[in-house]
Amino acid sequence: MSLHLPVISIALLLLASFVMPLLRRGARAAALPFTLSVLGAVFTVSLYLIYLVESRGAFSYHVGGWPPPWGVELYIDHLAVYMMMVLSSICLVVMVYGARDLYHEIRAEVMSWYYTLYLLLLASMIGIALTNDLFTLFVFLEISTISACGIISIKKDRECIEASFKYLILSVLGSGCVLLGVAMIYMITGYLNYDFVAQELPQAIAEYPYNILMALSLFIVGFSVKSALFPLHIWLPDAHSSAPSPSSAVLSGLVIKIYAAAILRLLFRVFPAELFEVVPVLDILLFLSVLAVMAGSIFAMVQEDIKRMLAYSSIAQIGFVFMGIGLFGNRALLGGLVHIFNHALMKSMLFLAAGLIIYAAGIRNIRDLRGIGVRMPLTMGAFAIGAFSMVGIPGTNGFISKWHLALGALDLGRPFFVAIILLSSLLNGIYYLPIVINAFFGVKIEPRSEHRDVPGMMLVPVLILAAGVIFFGFYPGPILALLEQAIVL
């Protein structure tokens, strides 16, 4: 029975998302508890799956009872359960926050649609993490694209609609590239299953080198557009800053990472390692990630809107994940992967804290944040923890991932990247710390608008995430142990 749990959790999420629109009138009040209980169940399942994979190793699941290469296969290994845990935990916490916040950002009639889209998004992201099949990957990619755009455009604001249109066009371009890459792979190997493709590719390289190169580059371009790697990031700032705060937290914390995890799986499980010695794909990724880390931080410095600044900071942070992939060493990859979780924790927390400030004081501009720490000490305290973690101060989880990335770079004898990591920490400090300092010690400006009290339902998730940032800063052991098994180079 327990082997069915991965597919049951995806089916449960899909089922719940289809049930949501049926809840009319009186039953509408049940939508939120129902969503939360489904998310909680999926989170529990993901913890149990971690235990299961730790105790009995990776296993695969054949949907429909058809063994591969005929059927769709889910492959549940350490990386998959790790991603599933990250996705479901952050989604659960953000939804607890969103329960109150959403009512003042979107209209009440479309609330049930928001739950639908949110559950669909989580289901598709878990699908991307678990799938072992190229075409299923594409289908889940498209579902995640549409639902991710949906949770932006549901606000019906002009900026939101425009941002989600831009996001949609570029994402569709990305998934078009991925589908063409899948077609190229299918053309020469005749398989869609990762394992079978990986078996066939080494022989196929000699015969059809151009097809494989094209497939590889199409995958890289497609996934880089979707995960906003530097030169292809233009959709991200608009989309993430205009969306409702819970959507921003999920989009910035999870959605862009899952595509990085997907390309990681493709690069290391499907494409033969000899290919990377001939083609400088990893070097290109490294180069782009360095550019992303630098450019994201520099763009973030000049922003005035707090959510826009956080969005640009995400561009810099996704660079670290790709740096881990590009360095292609055990330790660096560990750093990059653990950064997925760490950044998901801190960035969603920062977005939620920013959402709280916007909710309570109606302030979006960074200069107006002076003295807000006195009025909202807990929120700004959490924000400060997130900011420290972004800078990478020891004791926060941001330090752990940067530490492992830097050590990984040293292991490979590339100290240049250590310098980049240090420089980016410095840049992060330049734009994060003044906010914190001004908020607590700045000259207090009289509140210009009415000040709303922060409901406990909204504050608690932020504090939980902040506690997580500290906790995993001191005890990263369990996560690192899980990830060490996930990396088989």
């Binding site: 425009e162 066009i169 569709v172 371009l173 078009g176 063409l180 077609a183």
Partner: protein, 125 residues
């Protein structure tokens, strides 16, 4: 000369690649939002054509097994089945994009991305 003869032999791949580039070009360079969606559809269709033509065998039969009838060669049905899913996805993306355009037109009174950018720049200044 060899490359030309190979191109002529596999002209359907060539045509779908040309369509793909036309689609991407339309999608990224035109400022009219409807034209962007049309470009998106051209791009998707080109990929579908490419995928389906992979499964085609010259002289193959439709892959329906009828009792008593033995065919020598069947067309590969898998790409067609996959592309059916792709078409579903393309339809829903198109519908969603069009509904966004309707909404944008209501808000800004124009379907042109450049004009929308101008309106926004005027509002901000």
């Amino acid at each position: 000369m060899e490359i030309i003869s190979r191109l002529l032999e596999n002209y359907y791949y060539f045509v779908s690649m040309v369509l793909f580039i036309i689609g991407i070009h339309t999608m990224l360079t035109h400022s009219n939002l409807i034209k962007k969606v049309i470009g998106m559809n051209i791009m998707d269709t080109s990929i579908f054509l490419f995928f389906v033509s992979i499964g085609y065998r010259r002289g193959g039969m439709a892959p329906i097994i009828q009792p008593g009838v033995e065919a020598e060669m069947y067309v590969n049905p898998l790409p067609s089945a996959l592309i059916l899913t792709g078409i579903v996805v393309a339809v829903s993306v198109t519908a969603y994009a069009l509904s966004l355009i309707v909404e944008l037109y209501k808000q800004y009174g124009t379907c042109c991305a450049n004009e929308i950018a101008q309106i926004r720049a005027r509002e901000e200044s």
